[in-house]
């Protein structure tokens, strides 16, 4: 589940963001508690708590005192906007760099993408 590329709390936050984006987690849906999450993934609960705190800080989750944490109503929209902004620099540009390395013309890519429409 987790790797050594970055702190686990960041990987937890990314995983939950992906679930919100994909719709696996719905608006105002309750997420697992820190302890449930820790037991399920076999990680230290403080690490899990840090991941959740990060999401609360970013506005992806909100807390209901004594009940738990829930997905913010506008989380999906906000995440989509942020990801769309990064899409070209993080997905398209590296693809173009690789295409240049292996000698694929932009026209060829456009034709291929046309087929995917």
């Amino acid at each position: 589940m987790f790797d050594d590329r970055s702190p686990i709390y960041l990987q937890i936050a990314d995983g939950i963001k992906n679930d919100v984006l994909s719709g696996a987690l719905k608006e105002d849906e309750q997420v697992m508690s820190t302890n449930q999450y820790a037991a399920f993934y076999r990680i230290n609960p403080a690490t899990a708590a840090k991941g959740f705190a990060q999401l609360v800080e970013e506005g992806v989750l909100y807390k209901k005192r004594g009940i738990g944490m829930f997905v913010s109503p506008d989380a999906r929209e906000k995440l989509r906007a942020a990801r769309r902004e990064r899409f070209f620099t993080e997905v398209v540009d590296p693809m173009l760099a690789e295409a240049r390395r292996v000698g694929i013309a932009v026209d060829e890519i456009v034709r291929h993408l046309g087929g995917a429409r």
Partner: protein, 288 residues
């Protein structure tokens, strides 16, 4: 808070723990790492008041720990010897623990005995190495001591038993939070359970940090020697190797996304450095 101040442990003229000061907030799981002979067991023995330090103090919420019955009652130190009589039976050892340990949970101990498939009537002397360790885990966890110290309590355990150990430890910690210190050489398989990591090296503290901060702290950069050299220039190097024109360096530094993109454009590949690898590099570097 557990406070170690200027702690020194000596065996004759040999210094096992050398002037160690540590502040350990309670309620966390600590991983104590270090090579053989780095002083882990000596430090833990002093921490548990099993050994009088040559110098320095251990304080538990402000109270001096040494020969302090209140502190001792709340400390459970599981070490290699298990501190039991070898002619005793498993059942007898558990019975004694229930009498000694104020927080002892007999029902939980019985369940753990089943998890680890221990035979209650067996004598300690007839236990295999792994079963002996498993008994240590039962004694350590079922004591529910506010300070629980498990000193390499996995020796001889097979992969299944170790997996059971880690699962039970985490589950019981979640249900009954307390301070747990684990010393281990099997870093990779238990690292995710640690909140903090302490690395000892030749009796001194090399590092005391949040475990999660150590993940992604380093990076391995591989590629054409010149490009690697350009990229790594001026960064703290933990290790390196070359093969033909290819060079790989492990850096104690974390590049951001833009730096990784820049490196990749120059033909470099980036690999993670796990806690165990970081430990190897840091202790090797300290030895240089």
């Amino acid at each position: 808070m557990i406070e170690l101040r200027d702690l020194t442990v000596r065996y004759g003229s040999a210094v096992a723990v050398d002037d160690v000061s540590l502040d350990l907030p309670t309620g966390k799981i600590y991983g104590l790492l270090g090579r053989n002979g780095s002083g882990k067991t000596s430090l833990l023995s002093a921490l548990a008041s099993y050994r009088r330090p040559a110098r320095g103090t251990v304080r538990f919420d402000g109270a001096d720990a040494f020969e302090n019955p209140a502190v001792m009652r709340n400390t459970c130190f599981i070490r290699d010897s298990l501190d039991v009589n070898d002619s005793e039976r498993v059942r007898g050892v558990l019975g004694f623990a229930s009498w000694m340990r104020p927080g002892w949970d007999a029902g939980y101990a019985a369940r753990l005995v089943e998890v680890f498939e221990l035979e209650p009537r067996r004598r300690i002397s007839a236990l295999s190495r792994g079963q002996r360790s498993a008994l240590g885990v039962v004694l350590g966890l079922a004591s529910r001591a506010p300070l629980t110290i498990l000193d390499e309590t996995y020796l001889g355990m097979d992969a299944v038993a170790r997996s059971n150990f880690y699962r039970e430890l985490l589950a019981d910690y979640l249900a009954h939070p307390r301070t747990i210190i684990l010393s281990t050489h099997l870093i990779e398989e238990v690292a995710d359970l640690f909140e903090r990591v302490i690395i000892l090296d030749r009796g001194r503290v090399l590092l005391h940090e949040e475990a999660d901060e150590l993940r992604g702290r380093g990076v391995t950069v591989t590629g054409p020697a010149a490009a690697v050299g350009d990229f790594a220039g001026g960064r703290p190097v933990l290790g390196e190797q070359s093969l033909g024109g290819v060079r790989a360096v492990t850096l104690d530094w974390r590049p951001d996304a833009a730096e990784v993109a820049r490196g990749e454009a120059a033909g470099l590949t980036f690999g993670p450095v796990g806690l165990q690898e970081l430990f190897i590099h840091l202790t090797l570097e300290a030895a240089r």
